[in-house]
């Protein structure tokens, strides 16, 4: 049942979901790059982002607002606030849970990460309960059609925001002093310290940025799916982790690429193989990558890991 319009629409779906996976995957990959920890609490920070957005939206007087520019402004304000709050959460997690374990055997911080994940999940469960929570659909969601391919405002928003974040991150990592410090710390922590880089603050900034990106993903997931749920981060986190591994864990460009690939694979699987096979296909990719190419698609540039 091949037809061009459906394929194009599935690619849009895939890029939209993939953008969110990529934003989450960036956090995994940056943290892994710098302290070689797979931060399994990261998926829950993403959920936390949508919960923070809910709370912020509840505080804003959005009910009567219909003017387009004002709505965009509100959306940007919510994104920035949610990202800030998630960033702070990330820094707190690093400070309280991981910093002391930086020189411990690798299993210790990993188990701690699972513990932090459970703590966050339980906090969110107490906060909003065990049912899905409706997310206010305050942005207009009109349909557009270009050459018969239908897409809507939400999809435009999701793709624009995620791509913008990635461009910002790229600029930050490769063009700023702090970004250079991160890359240096990732390459060789001891040498970086000897060169006068403050390791603790560099790592804290890495957590801040990774978690802030997850916060942005949390907000756009609320808009895109219309609901949020305290356990959403578990599954999204696993898929983003798959994306990070697929791209080569520790590699920023790889995480973005991996996110989009996973999103598109999901959408095309739902279209051509049937919806029930999406997870089978995604996690088969994870297994195949781990077995045959553990360094990932772009893993050879390990020197650039952050």
């Amino acid at each position: 049942m091949f037809d061009f319009h459906t394929l194009a629409q599935q690619l849009i779906n895939g890029v939209a979901t993939g953008g969110m996976y990529a934003l989450i995957a960036l956090g995994y990959t940056m943290v892994y790059g710098i302290i070689e920890l797979i931060n399994f609490a990261h998926g829950d920070v993403y959920t936390l982002g949508s919960f923070f957005s809910l709370t912020i939206l509840a505080l804003l007087p959005i009910a009567g607002v219909t003017s387009g520019p004002l709505l965009v402004l509100i959306a940007i304000a919510v994104i920035i606030l949610a990202a800030l709050l998630c960033g702070i959460t990330g820094v707190l997690i690093e400070r309280l849970a991981y910093r002391r374990l930086r020189n411990a055997p690798r299993l210790a911080p990993l188990i701690t990460a699972i513990g932090v994940s459970l703590i966050l999940e339980n906090i969110m469960q107490l906060w909003k309960g065990t049912s899905p929570v409706p997310f206010p659909q305050f942005l207009p969601n009109t349909e557009h059609s270009i050459g018969g391919v239908i897409f809507n405002d939400n999809e435009v928003l999701v793709v624009t925001v995620s791509v913008a974040c990635m461009l910002l991150l790229n600029y930050f990592v490769y063009r700023t002093k702090l970004g250079k410090a991160m890359r240096a710390t990732a390459q060789d922590r001891d040498a970086a310290q000897l060169m006068g880089i403050n390791i603790n603050s560099t790592i804290a900034w890495t957590f801040f940025i990774g978690s802030a990106l997850a916060g942005v993903a949390g907000f756009i997931s609320g808009i895109y799916y219309g609901t949020t749920f305290f356990l959403n981060g578990y599954q999204a986190g696993l898929k983003a982790f798959t994306a990070a591994v697929l791209g080569g864990i520790g590699n920023i460009t790889g995480a973005m690429l991996g996110g989009f690939v996973i999103g598109i694979v999901e959408a095309l699987t739902a279209q051509f193989l049937g919806n029930q096979w999406t997870e089978v296909v995604v996690f088969s990719i994870l297994i195949l990558i781990l077995v045959f190419r553990p360094s990932g698609l772009l893993g050879q540039h390990l020197a650039e890991k952050v």
């Binding site: 939209a16 969601n141 609901t227 749920f229 994870l286």
Partner: protein, 415 residues
């Protein structure tokens, strides 16, 4: 490198899943209250009363607890105080078969529990029936509609410990009736022609979707595709794009709100399916669906495998009592929960009488349920057939109108 990532991932997933099952497990609460002094008979209940399933489970549990209250007021078992012991089988907000099985075991370990009302969901029943069968305790379900729970080779496998002992009964109709009634309504009353069928791949959801689809085809309709959701799915965009390309005039959803039905409907907004009818079974006829689907909770039809109590003169006292006690409208299966509890209470009463006023055994209670010629209840008179199904089956049909489910009609089968 290769080893370590793999090993870490494996251990993480194992530990994480272990914890998530362990942590939010037992959240049972004893209803009915009072210390267990002397002659106490307990009616257990196992329903999903937290999370997305709560809007089904709590109204049903209210029915059970109301039955216990009424039975005590009317001294239906002379010499005994009746108490409700209510457990929750939802884990992380969704009905969970292993948790249900544990709850049945926990309830059965209390000798005062003479019977259990529950479960709500068919896949939970699949986990509980073998336990109830092995332990010889009555399990009376208000709402589990999958036909294979009581009939056919699957049912025989479920009661493998004592194949000839029926311990599982239900007071609702089954999906081999519910599905076809819904399909007939969609094809003949709503004149729908092209159905895109989705189910949640659970016992109930897949079962009712198959039954509905088969009848819809027999009625002259076309099933353009039949898709299955994955557990915990939250993103339906790709599925809906596929559905949109197939150009259906109805999307049938077999499953519950908790397994994704409400979010599926919500995400139809802004897609080519925004103005397409949705049809479902009793799994979506709840307040959770209305809450999540929001403005999309229109043009949605759902069947319920039980009678609409508001239409029955015999149920008016129950409805008033329910309103006075809980101050909320009844759910799809509140009356069924009440009736399921009453079945156990009446059987226990008979068993006490036969036992000379002393505490009867669970086997006596089971015997009374099986051999009762007729239960006169607020939803009509019925008895149980040889496999535990009620002799009377009624399907009611509802339509969602934004914030309320409007009753449309009902169809009766059997005696």
């Amino acid at each position: 490198m290769q080893r370590s990532i793999r090993a870490r991932l494996a251990s993480c997933i194992a530990v994480a899943s272990m914890f998530s099952i362990g942590l939010s497990g037992c959240t049972g609460s004893g209803g009915g209250g009072g210390p267990a002094s002397g002659n106490v008979i307990k009616i257990g209940s196992d329903l999903p009363v937290s999370g997305a399933d709560a809007s089904d489970g709590i109204p049903t549990q209210n029915g059970v607890q109301l039955a216990v209250k009424v039975a005590n007021e009317q001294h239906m078992i002379p010499g005994f105080t009746i108490q409700a012991d209510s457990l929750d089988d939802a884990v992380n907000g969704v009905h969970n078969p292993p948790q249900g099985q544990k709850n049945v075991q926990a309830l059965a370990s209390d000798p005062a529990v003479l019977g259990i009302v529950g479960p709500f969901n068919s896949n939970v029943a699949q986990a509980e029936i073998p336990t109830s069968n092995a332990l010889g305790i009555a399990l009376v379900a208000p709402s589990t509609t999958n036909p294979t729970l009581t009939k056919g080779p699957e049912a025989l496998e479920l009661r493998r410990s004592n194949p000839n002992e029926i311990t599982f009964f239900r007071v609702c109709a089954t999906d081999d009736v519910q599905g076809p009634v819904g399909a007939d309504y969609a094809a003949k009353m709503l004149h729908l022609k092209r159905a895109y069928v989705v189910d949640d791949n659970e016992t109930y959801g897949k079962g009712i979707a198959d039954q509905w689809a088969a009848r819809f085809i027999a009625d002259g309709g076309t099933v353009v595709a039949h898709q299955h959701l994955t557990p915990g799915q939250t993103d339906f965009h790709a599925l809906l794009t596929d559905a949109g390309a197939a150009n259906p005039d109805v999307v049938f959803y077999g499953g519950t709100s908790a397994t994704g039905g409400d979010q599926l409907r919500k995400q139809m907004a802004g897609s080519p399916l925004a103005s397409v009818t949705m049809f479902g079974g009793d799994g979506i006829r709840n307040d959770e669906f209305l809450k999540i689907a929001g403005s999309m909770a229109n043009q949605v039809y759902a069947t319920v495998a039980s009678v609409n109590a508001a239409k029955l003169p015999a149920a008016q006292a129950f409805l008033k009592e329910y309103q006075d006690t809980y101050h909320v409208p009844v759910g799809s299966y509140s009356a069924a929960g009440y009736v399921a509890a009453m079945v156990i209470i009446k059987a226990a009463g008979e068993a006490v009488k036969a036992n000379g006023g002393k505490m009867p055994s669970r086997a006596d209670v089971l015997d009374q349920i099986r051999k009762a010629p007729k239960f006169d209840t607020i939803i009509g008179s019925f008895s149980f057939d040889a496999s535990g199904d009620p002799t009377s089956k009624i399907i009611s049909i509802y339509e969602a109108k934004s914030d309320v489910w409007d009753f449309l009609t009902q169809v009766k089968f059997g005696t």
